[in-house]
């Protein structure tokens, strides 16, 4: 349920695979220069390396269509010899404003892991598991996630700095979760 959740709340909110969330990265790329759909896909891949699962081209076109409808980008047809016209997108003034708002607003931090905390607080009432058992299970879970992250970091190309930073962020969040678990153990298990 919570797998690597904390580290990725923001990433998902902005880039989530649900479709609409490629919007802002696309606006950011178009702020640099006008581009067509395929160029945008390549630019995303280049910028994020393996830190960002590459979106499919269909998803990019759907998103560009929506951005156009909302007046944040506009498209011009560019003629090509021997091939159908291609659509080159550029940012509108509204688009730039939306991008600036996004960049300027503070970003939500990770949520507190409230569901586990609920279980922990309520444990003595339910009689289903004691707190020590809950904490132990949760610790094992975090440690195995940490192992996955460590292995992921080892498999990642050392030159892929963006990806390594993303993994490092997830690692630090997980360390904080483990430290917090220790505090729970000290204060709630007597």
């Amino acid at each position: 349920m919570h797998v690597m959740h904390s580290a990725n709340v923001d990433v998902n909110r902005q880039f989530g695979n649900g479709g609409g969330r490629v919007r802002l990265p696309l606006l950011a790329l178009l702020a640099k220069e006008p581009a067509h759909g395929y160029e945008l896909k390549q630019a995303l891949e280049q910028t994020f390396g393996s830190a960002y699962p590459s979106p499919n081209i269909g998803q990019i076109y759907v998103t560009l269509g929506r951005l156009e409808k909302d007046g944040l980008v506009r498209a011009v047809d560019v003629e090509q010899s021997n091939r159908p016209n291609k659509k080159v997108y550029y940012l509108t003034a509204d688009g730039r404003e939306a991008l600036e708002t996004w960049v300027d607003e503070p970003t939500e931090g990770p949520r507190v892991r409230d569901e586990f905390f609920m279980k922990l607080v309520l444990a003595p009432l339910t009689g289903i598991a004691d707190r020590m058992a809950l904490i132990n299970r949760q610790r094992r879970h975090y440690l195995s996630l940490m192992r996955d992250l460590t292995e992921l970091a080892e498999r990642t190309d050392p030159g892929d700095r963006v990806a390594l930073l993303l993994i490092e962020g997830a690692t630090l969040h997980l360390q904080a979760d483990l430290d917090w678990l220790e505090r729970c153990q000290e204060d709630l298990v007597t």
Partner: protein, 244 residues
Amino acid sequence: MTVLRTLNLVRIYQNGGVPVPAVRGVDFAVEAGEFVAIMGPSGSGKSTLVHMLGGLDVRTSGEIWLDGKRVDTLSESAWAVLRRKKIGFVFQFYNLVTNMTVADNVELPALLAGMSPREARERREYLLGELSLTERAFAAPAELSGGEQQRVALARALANGPRLLLADEPTGNLDSRNTRDVLKLLGEVHRQGQTVVVVTHDAKVASKADRVVTLADGMIVDDASMRRRRLPPGTAGDVVELRG
């Protein structure tokens, strides 16, 4: 084969006449080649436990067995011999010899274990290299940062190629880059068959272990073997994907 075993191990300190039970009945065994991490809150008895395992503190009661021999009854000098030959120890607060250079700190245990001066030097060069300390070899410990001293302490503990490495918070003062060096080296000696017991708060270190033992209030409250799961091949993008 069991390298290390404790039976109902207890350590009670006297603090102005008040008994402070730091370790309260620990039964625990480490197999040859195993990598065990010991975790637990501050004051839970982790340092006390590993100090006893290395013969650096005396038990109040209980037994310690090393390579099938009972060792908790040994004299201090017999322990010193044992450490010279078999055990590497990394102290939480380094304990480097202050009036010797880094290089000498690392070479000394190798020489004491019977290596030739050349072997000792090569071993030192290798270890300091792995820990990005080559440039600091001829500095005095006092001229090093805390993190550098900590890495020297690890190099020194590994100098004699001990069968058993006991390390108390070997990454406690390191940033993530230096932690990576230390983890790489620990992984390497582990792969070479060395038995490793490491006390740590650092989950990255613990995630390298085969087993994680958790202490609370001087007792073992969890002993988790971390079996390797087969992961589907993936990339950092999975950090994004693996949720939900």
